[in-house]
């Protein structure tokens, strides 16, 4: 059987669910999972379907044509059809911190992540050794004020060459330019080391420490042009107290960062995240 994932969003309307499920049925598909959400305030409709089709008879192109003409047009839908068996290609951007990189790669090597990782890009050479021990190409592209534009062009060429589907910033300590964001809309995943919207920007652990919070957090979000303002995919927290120094905050935070980032990656990879109004609908 061929498994496909259909993502839909559109203005809410009567009969959408029946129309779509009917359509899949007529195409000899079996719906194995359906997730649906209506945002009452914006009267927006969201749906995610996992469908199975017979490998012999199913034509993705045919399905897409028919769906567009019969259903999508009628309800003015945004929609995508993904092949569940195709692993998306993920590029990892890193700087000098290794904890998120190790976490991703060790999951990758144990078969836990449904992605391909064709390359790692960094602005520093420090983590090349790790990339090598996992046999993944590592490109060190220095980024300075002067080289920023050229560096970015080089990055983009690599991303195209390797046909990258989405990017994870695994504690990549550089601001991403509009151009790169424009090429990968809702496809660049960052981990911010605070409980956004508290403590955006640099040095959030220092700010949290100064404020005397009793809980710190980490937030994984899609990168948009407003720094640290993109749609939140996942967050988690851990307790701290007066006994913890900034260094303790940082160490405790690392555990959060890697876990929260990996959850966001899993959700994105399985096409479980839909973005709307700078927020996410997460079907998990």
């Amino acid at each position: 059987m061929k498994k496909s994932i259909l993502l839909i969003n559109c203005k809410d309307n009567k009969g959408i669910i029946a129309s779509v499920t009917n359509f899949v049925h007529q195409q000899k598909g079996n719906i194995v999972y359906i997730d649906q959400h209506v945002d009452r305030e914006d009267t927006m409709f969201f749906m995610r379907l996992e469908c199975e089709f017979s490998k012999d008879s199913f034509s993705k192109e045919q399905f897409e044509n028919d769906f567009e003409n019969s259903i999508a047009n009628k309800f003015d839908m945004n929609w995508q059809l993904h092949d569940a068996d195709v692993k998306p290609k993920m590029a990892i951007f890193v700087s000098k911190y290794s904890h998120c990189l190790y976490d991703i790669l060790s999951r990758f090597s144990s078969g836990e992540m449904g992605v391909e990782i064709p390359l790692i890009i960094s602005n520093h050479p420090d983590l090349e050794k790790i990339a090598r021990s996992f046999n993944i190409p590592y490109y060190c592209i220095k980024v300075t004020k002067e080289t920023k534009v050229a560096a970015e062009r080089e990055q983009l060429e690599l991303l195209r060459k390797y046909k990258i589907d989405f990017i994870v910033l695994a504690r990549y300590m550089q601001i991403i330019s509009s151009r790169l964001i424009g090429e990968f809309p809702d496809k660049i995943i960052n981990i911010h080391h605070s409980f956004l919207p508290a403590f955006p920007g640099a040095k959030p652990y220092h700010s949290a420490f100064k404020r005397g919070v009793k809980i710190i957090g980490a937030t994984s979000h899609y990168v948009t042009e407003e720094l640290d303002e993109g749609p939140i995919i996942e967050q988690d927290i851990t307790r701290v107290s007066h006994i913890h120094t900034i260094k303790d905050f940082i160490l405790k935070g690392r555990d959060l960062e890697k876990i929260v980032l990996s959850r966001a990656l899993q959700l994105h990879t399985k096409h479980k995240v839909m973005v709307y109004n700078n927020k996410t609908v997460v079907f998990n």
Copy 2:
């Protein structure tokens, strides 16, 4: 508009979703929410639909007849149709602890709970004053070895008289008999003050203290004939450490108990819990 909730479970099969959504559509209903689950291991299918019908044209009886004949029979379904606007009638059983009772009644009085509370039954007179301050009838029915059967008969009569739909044991310190369980299958909700299946039975905080756990919990579950073995609806936990005495465990536990119990009640009241194989499917 009239809002109804349709709960379905049956053997998993192709075309169920399309059949059901189609049927609702044909009945001029609008599906406003759909939740669905398939237990792959047991190949069981579960679905919860919230549908809106025009008040003028909708006949519940008609819908039930047609659904039974056309869909339910075909897929051999267990199913129920609930009127979302009808508040279920809940009986509260208590003994001497007041924290869960206060919590339920203060939520009730602030309009937070979608239930009616026609009566409170207790084996002790202690909490009558609280019931009275909320204007709810309080029946004190003593339970001893000798009076157990008679007491239960009296309880059952009250439950029938008040047309009770489900029962919450808000720290009711008596074992419920088979007969009462039989009359209210998956309709008696208990709060157990441990993280089941750890520490079933009496004095779980004492056992947890002795074992030196670092986390304690509370578990709300449906009452079945095996004590503390019924389907789990909700659980939560809180941290403890060596500095906490048994008394601290008990106080911290109370906060868990009342919150976990109230969450379970909300889920049950909104028909979001389905029971199968001594487990629950919770659509929340």
Copy 3:
């Protein structure tokens, strides 16, 4: 035995712990608990001791005199000696929300809280019935732009008349004036319904909903002149998702608010909180 609690903070220095423990020993006291903290960055020392003295021989006045002259002067200490058996007098301020009030009063009536509650002050008459059912005097003092100064004077007179030690704002929807804060420094405890410093000010649930956060929180803090900027005593969080409406945020938040507030009250009541640099040291 007479139990006393000694709180100390001063510049960190060698020999403080030995000096203090020695002093207590010489006074025939037995130290039953010692908590200590050093803030390395500010080189500040904090200590909390629970000591037992023989009821016959112990004179609080004598102890205070001797301690001041021999130890406190030497190390330039801020310090307080509390009688552990004296219950502090707490005033509750409320507006219209009842959940925190019910929670506090039900704990109070079950003997869980080590305070006296001589009075409840409100700017609305709505919750008087609840106060009455717990037999606690309820003073309704309207607050408008015009009456603000007079209202506050009336509040202060009541607080003095009842010899109030500290105040809890149990969702009291008014800004507290400098004058009241000045009379009760680090003695007015507020519950803010967000995970501060995220979403300060009004309508935090609405802001959290708009931002699409995956976790909401509540924060209990001492009231200072900067709104929502006072020292944080306790925080906690709960998960939310796209399925939750603002109304759901509010309901889930209420459970947080009452639990977090009650924890803060317990800590304050037991003299476990010390304030320094707009942060708290919490010995729990």
Copy 4:
């Protein structure tokens, strides 16, 4: 300055704290941190002190002699003095699962763990490649029913040769014999993939799935002769629901296992854990 950690437990008694702090003071030591606990039920006293001594004048031997004769004898203490600057030597035991190993080694390589790791012992060759990429000797010692005794002898020889201080079982899927436990009492740290005491023994995720729990956990504990009954050092949990399969439980559990295990290792390494009555006092 030379930093030492003094751990004490004994029957509770008056004057212990003053005696000890005085003694340290007389030895020209500065107490920089003091943690203390009294188990009221067992009237047991626990204390952990971090002290600084001048490098020139301090003699560990002298201190130990004097302390034993003057204080320890008087109060009949169990006590240890640790040099805070000496990194304990930790052996890692693994089988085939790599997630805990990767987590430990990536922390180790980033300088996060205060240990030396002289060797890794496994009953399988699978993870040798990982050990090699971190430049740590890997000994594969097969364990079968027939070779169990010989294998263990070989393990013990290695542990002695490398002067191992404590052992971490990083998902080592073999039962540890009495002999090894006897040589490393309260010095073998295991991670059990359930929320003990729920689901001891093999296949806890399967049992948790079958029971329909809403929360799963992981527990790190010292290994004793009763399987999964040793003193608990740390626990944590994560939420699950009906949508999660056993495979999901396992994946979610892995994240818990590695985080909980690493926390336990940090606590043990910093001499923050004391064992008594099959429970732990954890000063964190």
